[in-house]
């Protein structure tokens, strides 16, 4: 029985992987409790940015195309979802579908143009598009985006479907899924289910012929062309899929907090998702999720530390030592969290370009080698 189970695990069939993954995600409130990460806001962030990173990984991890404009789809998804709340209904299902569809369309347009080039030109093109959207959101598109204030729900929004079935209630309505409120833990569980679905799709893509094609493009695009397969449709499809994932994540951001602002589309936001993906491990299935977890967790901890916390932390040192340590560490915490992020990022790129997942596999290999060596030396002794 035990052996069978082990075999099953080793084979890593799709079903076992997804079951284990689902169990891991749904029990997050339990196993994240000891490290103090068990509250709904943070959990929701883990899960939502997890979807974003998983989607980004389909493009960057599989094809190697470095897009610097993926935050656009996050922003577009948020706007689309909030508009759906405003115009149609507070139910989240249409909002999510609508947002994914819209961001897929925009991704198709951007991808169609950008995918004509590769390498750094592709990065610059996506960056140019992202900046265009960002600037337009603050100028011409203000009727749609509501400029710097951000798009919010209002009392007098039409909400056609909701108002058709029932009279409007007093007060601002909140988002729901057929009566289930989207605040707190229920919101988290909803997002978690979406993440599991998204992860399942990503896993299927990774293990499909389509995914193989994308990996082949990454390793040698010229050879692909010489063997007679047109790479462009595959690349565009990958771009659209990852754009839709980003739109989905954007929609979920709006679901948990119905507010959309253009700062979500800034190119530093695209930089953040690149960071997460790389930190965890590009092109691996779990890596991006790991990266999201680490970055969002550290962000949460580091940005709340201030000087008095530090003083307490170093209070075991003599006074002068304490002062030195506090002045050394304080630039890295609180407001300076981005500094830590930058340093961490550089260290990873310099020493471990494959991300943490590569680090794990290296350690594993070394461990195995050591074991084999031990066995050999044992046998020679005998």
């Amino acid at each position: 029985m035990m052996k069978q189970l082990m075999n099953l695990l080793k084979k890593q069939s799709d079903l076992t992987t997804i079951l284990m993954f689902a169990a891991g995600v749904l029990t997050m409130p339990i196993w994240l409790d000891p490290i103090g990460a068990n509250y709904p806001d943070l959990l929701q962030k883990f899960v939502i940015f997890g979807i974003f990173a998983v989607g980004y990984n389909i493009l960057f991890g599989l094809t190697g195309y470095l897009s610097f404009g993926h935050a656009v789809f996050l922003g577009v998804g948020s706007y689309a979802a909030v508009w759906s709340f405003k115009l149609l209904t507070m139910n989240v299902l249409p909002a999510i579908l609508f947002a994914t569809l819209i961001s897929g369309l925009i991704a198709a347009a951007i991808g169609f143009v950008s995918m004509r080039r590769s390498g750094i030109y592709f990065s610059i093109l996506t960056l140019a598009f992202a900046q265009m959207f960002y600037n337009l959101a603050y100028s011409v598109l203000i009727p749609i985006t509501n400029g710097e204030t951000g798009l919010q729900l209002r009392m007098h929004d039409p909400r056609i479907i909701d108002n058709y079935f029932s009279d409007p209630l007093p007060g601002l309505p909140s988002t729901d899924f057929f009566g289930m409120s989207m605040n707190g833990y229920s919101g988290f569980y909803f997002c978690a289910v979406v993440l599991i679905l998204a992860f399942y799709i990503a896993m299927k893509i990774f293990r499909s012929p389509f995914g193989m094609k994308l990996k082949a493009i990454k390793s040698n695009q010229h050879r692909m062309r010489y063997t007679g397969s047109d790479t462009r449709p595959y690349l565009i499809t990958a771009f659209i899929i990852s754009g839709m994932f980003a739109g989905l994540a954007g929609a979920l951001l709006a679901v948990t907090d119905p507010l959309a602002g253009a700062e979500r589309m800034q190119w530093t936001a695209s930089g953040e998702v690149i960071l997460m993906t790389i930190l965890g491990g590009v092109g691996t299935l779990y890596g991006p999720l790991l990266g999201v977890g680490i970055i969002k967790y550290l962000e949460n901890i580091f940005s709340t530390i201030n000087e008095s916390v530090l003083q307490q932390f170093f209070s075991f040192l003599p006074q002068w030592g304490e002062n030195i340590m506090v002045s050394v560490v304080s630039p890295f915490v609180g407001e300076g969290w981005h500094l830590t992020l930058g340093v961490l990022f550089m260290i990873i790129i310099i020493f471990l370009p494959g991300g943490l997942m590569e680090g794990f596999s290296r350690i594993q290999k070394r461990y195995r080698k050591a074991k084999i060596k031990d066995n050999q030396s044992d046998s020679t002794k005998e």
Partner: protein
């Protein structure tokens, strides 16, 4: 008028893009931290001005009811009028400090980080320099705060030049002196960089290196050292561009990133690895941007001023894949 407006902006773009292209063409490194060098240059000017105006609190003799203090810079105390004049000229003088500082920073950056990334992929180069840019930007924010710091130009040039009367366009056509000076300085720097590359032996070697790095190395030239110096030079160009730009736009910690995105677009528009292309595209896009912000144009096509640069970049990249003056064989794969 708008043409002139565009020219000084274009000057800044051209200077940054020049440094970027120089580094890219010779070292083959895509440097996302170049905007941060521009930022550091601007803050060199800020720091220099701050140091000059370190003040001592002294009793204000004009108020006798209570103890009022005024701050008097030490320089004024020590040198009187001359001291005040020095403070007034802080920005132009700061260039003297900026050049060696930026040279040092550039050399340190090349030796410490960039050198180890020659053999890595472009994506990794982009990412590591992006990380460095974040770090530099946050360090600046830690020391100088998040607000823009006004750094005035010398009083004598704070007014406007009556450009209109010079060229016979009427008296209403005026233009700030400092922007004219900026234009002159950037032109001077650009021409001196070109002169350096075309008239000296060192420049010849560098140009040869841009064509075929390996061959130059085979000829027994220490390419590595040349690269380090080139990187330092690019850092100086970006730094001076930043220091001089401080009076036009009060520097704040994210100005590097703002300029970086645009100057990358410019480099790509001009053609990767083409110095002339970078300069031409810099001025071109600067002018286009200010033309697009004219009321006549923006009422016709609302929002065009915000996206014109990116729009032009997209069009050029799709119609002329190597940019305006790009060479064959640079970043083709």
């Amino acid at each position: 008028m708008q043409l002139l407006n565009g020219l000084d902006k274009g000057g800044a773009y051209a200077l940054i893009a020049l440094g970027l292209t120089l580094v890219f063409g010779t070292l083959g490194v895509v440097n996302f931290a170049h905007g941060a060098l521009f930022l550091l240059g601007a803050f060199c000017a800020v720091t220099f001005q701050k140091i000059l105006t370190i003040s001592k609190k002294i009793l204000d003799p004009s108020i006798t009811y209570f103890d009022a203090y005024i701050e008097q810079p030490y320089l004024e105390i020590w040198f009187g009028e001359t001291g005040l004049a020095i403070i007034d000229y802080a920005v132009p003088l700061s260039i003297i400090v900026t050049i060696p500082t930026m040279l040092l920073i550039g050399l340190a950056m090349e030796r410490g980080l960039i050198r180890h990334f020659y053999k890595r992929t472009h994506a990794e180069q982009i990412l590591v320099t992006f990380g460095l840019a974040i770090v530099l930007q946050e360090v600046i924010r830690h020391f100088f705060g998040a607000n823009p710091i006004p750094t005035p130009a010398p009083d004598i040039v704070s007014g406007s030049a009556a450009v209109g009367t010079w060229i016979g366009l009427g008296e209403n056509f005026v233009y700030p002196w400092w922007r004219l000076i900026y234009l002159a300085v950037s032109t001077a720097i650009i021409s001196s960089v070109f002169a350096f590359l075309h008239l000296t032996t060192f420049g010849m070697v560098v140009r040869a290196g841009m064509y075929d790095r390996q061959m130059v190395a085979f000829l027994g030239i220490n390419v590595q050292r040349k690269f380090t110096i080139i990187f330092g030079l690019a850092a100086v160009v970006a730094g001076v561009a930043g220091a001089m730009y401080a009076p036009i736009l009060p520097p704040d910690y994210h100005m590097g990133m703002d300029f970086l995105v645009i100057s990358f677009v410019i480099v790509v528009v001009g053609g990767m690895g083409s110095l002339r292309g970078a300069v031409a595209a810099g001025f071109l896009l600067g002018i286009l941007q200010s033309l697009a912000s004219m009321t006549a144009v923006s009422s016709l096509l609302p929002g065009i001023d915000q996206i014109i640069i990116y729009l032009v970049a997209v069009i050029i990249l799709l119609t002329r894949p190597r940019g305006l003056m790009g060479r064959k064989g640079v970043m083709e794969d």
